[in-house]
């Protein structure tokens, strides 16, 4: 058994005989009682997300997960295919488990994949990813005067983000994967 302080995104917890991967967690302190950790986790079998709030002094059954650098190759139906960069083995990960992170993936991007008994259960994206801008409507005169300081642009993997009006087609930019927002010119 492990302490609740070991709860992190991507760890796998055994709860009432089912396995869950942690998708998010949050420390909460009601102020009038001890501190708690609210944990959102996804059932590895059913994909169902549940929320459990542990008192910080409770113990949880964290099962061992191996973290491995892998390269994203391509999407296969709803699933995503990654390659182990040491062995060149390919694995396929359930689209449900990749979740909304899937929209940031682009060919040959390196990510950290969590493996439980060789099955991929979580991915960690880099905090910032570089993309090429493939579509950016030109700034219209008067845009900044009317308060339009951003515009929607399309990136080489199909992702769209809001970016400053000065960004042009063909430029390389960085996107913050925690907020999904434009970060800077690369």
């Amino acid at each position: 058994m492990a302490s609740t302080s070991e709860i992190r995104k991507g760890v796998v917890i055994k709860h009432q005989n089912d396995l869950f991967v942690v998708v998010d967690f949050q420390h909460i302190n009601p102020g009038k009682g001890a501190a708690f950790v609210r944990t959102r986790m996804k059932n590895l079998a059913s994909g169902k997300v549940i929320e459990i709030t542990y008192k910080t002094s409770e113990t949880v059954d964290i099962v061992s997960v191996q973290f491995q650098n892998m390269q994203y190759l391509y999407k296969n139906g709803d699933n995503y295919v990654f390659m182990n960069m040491d062995t060149y083995d390919q694995i396929e990960m359930d689209g449900d488990l990749v979740g909304t992170d899937g929209k940031y993936l682009k060919e040959s991007l390196e990510v950290i994949v969590g493996l439980y008994e060789e099955r991929p259960v979580s991915i960690q994206l880099p905090k910032k990813i570089q993309y090429k801008v493939v579509e950016a409507p030109p700034a219209v005169k008067g845009d900044s005067a009317s308060g339009n300081v951003t515009k929607e642009i399309k990136l080489d993997n199909g992702l769209t983000v809001q970016a400053p009006i000065f960004i042009k087609e063909g430029e390389e930019i960085l996107v913050n994967t925690e907020t999904g927002e434009y970060s800077a010119r690369a």
Partner: protein
């Protein structure tokens, strides 16, 4: 995991974060306008206190103040301006508010907490806890209408706050979400059994509050304030050191909390003004601090003396301003609504 920053370069380059900060400053101004128009006086009380509050589960930050002879005096940064504002009531003011920077240690750097946070706390004397429920609702509507914001947003939730707000007793919520009468679960033994039956962990060390919150946080809180804001009121008396007991049932006390979209936003009391009982409760809290292995300091006798001098019945509440800004702006993390949060300063 908390990398939602608000530093100067974010404010310069990211229009969304800039807009959040502008809204924050606007909200502070509108809040003052609201309280002034209601006849409140804005108080100004110290941040560094010789004697901090006795709340068993809060961790005040220590600071050492030196005099000109280099002698040390241990002080604490306030966790709320509560005692100071009640002393101001004792000094003769009847409606006071303060927008205060408060500090609590050992809290998470982001999410819905920052160790330094902004609180608006206000008191009416004479007044009851129903008054501050009315004030909170009126203040949110005043601020929101001026800003032209129709919904409060947290995560994927959108809450309409412009209609009538809800009020539910803790006892009603237990019946709704646990199907149990809270009257039967006011002892550690009884509530402990229910915790086990509900599939939650029970530990011999758990106090009543711990067991109450295991059930409350898992089974009730995530459902609170999803359609409209809700005031939850009348908590079991053992959890309320600074509140008056309910007239209809002295097993419960006049404490109320505001929830919006499952987020706790404010905590207030029908204030305990009986100085003898207040002293007993604070000494009990201090003993519990000792049992929990936390630092202790004497009960603030000046606060007890202020109550002894005679305060009208009073109602008072503390509301988290950062969380309020988060709801009005739909920010994703408290770090987005605070200029240079602790996480921001630690990571940069």
């Amino acid at each position: 995991m908390f990398l939602f920053m608000s530093n100067w370069s974010d404010l310069k380059n990211n229009p969304r974060l800039k807009n959040i900060y502008e809204t924050r400053l606007h909200i502070l101004r509108l809040m003052r306008e609201f309280f002034w128009s209601e006849g409140f006086v804005e108080a100004d009380s110290p941040i560094a206190l010789r004697l901090a509050g006795q709340e068993p589960y809060l961790n005040p930050m220590e600071v050492v103040i030196k005099n000109s002879f280099d002698s040390d005096f241990k002080f604490y940064l306030r966790t709320s301006p509560e005692y100071a504002l009640k002393k101001i009531l004792a000094a003769g003011w009847s409606k006071v508010f303060e927008i205060s920077k408060c500090f609590r240690n050992q809290e998470s750097f982001g999410g819905t907490h920052n160790p330094e946070f902004t609180m608006v706390e206000w008191y009416r004397s004479p007044g009851t806890y129903w008054d501050f429920m009315d004030d909170s609702e009126a203040m949110f509507k005043y601020v929101g209408e001026k800003l032209g914001i129709k919904n409060l947003c947290f995560g994927d939730l959108k809450v309409d706050y412009l209609g009538d707000w809800d009020r539910k007793s803790v006892k009603d919520l237990w019946m709704t979400f646990l199907g149990k009468n809270l009257d039967d679960y006011l002892s550690v033994d009884a509530i402990g059994k229910l915790v086990v039956e509900s599939g939650l962990q029970f530990d011999q060390q758990d106090k009543y509050e711990d067991l109450f919150y295991k059930l409350f946080l898992n089974k009730i809180e995530p459902n609170l304030g999803l359609d409209k804001p809700v005031f939850v009121y009348d908590y079991p008396a053992q959890m309320c050191s600074l509140s008056k007991l309910c007239e209809h049932d002295d097993r419960y006390a006049q404490r109320a909390e505001l929830y919006v979209a499952g987020l706790e936003l404010a905590n207030g009391f029908g204030e305990l003004t009986d100085f003898k009982l207040q002293k007993i409760n604070l000494e009990k809290d201090k003993t519990l601090r000792t049992q929990l292995g936390k630092p202790t300091w004497p009960v603030d006798e000046d606060f007890i003396a202020a109550l002894k001098s005679g305060i009208n019945t009073a109602g008072g509440i503390a509301l988290g301003v950062d969380r309020m800004v988060l709801l009005f702006t739909g920010a994703r993390d408290i770090n987005e609504v605070i200029f240079q949060s602790v996480a921001d300063q630690v990571n940069n």
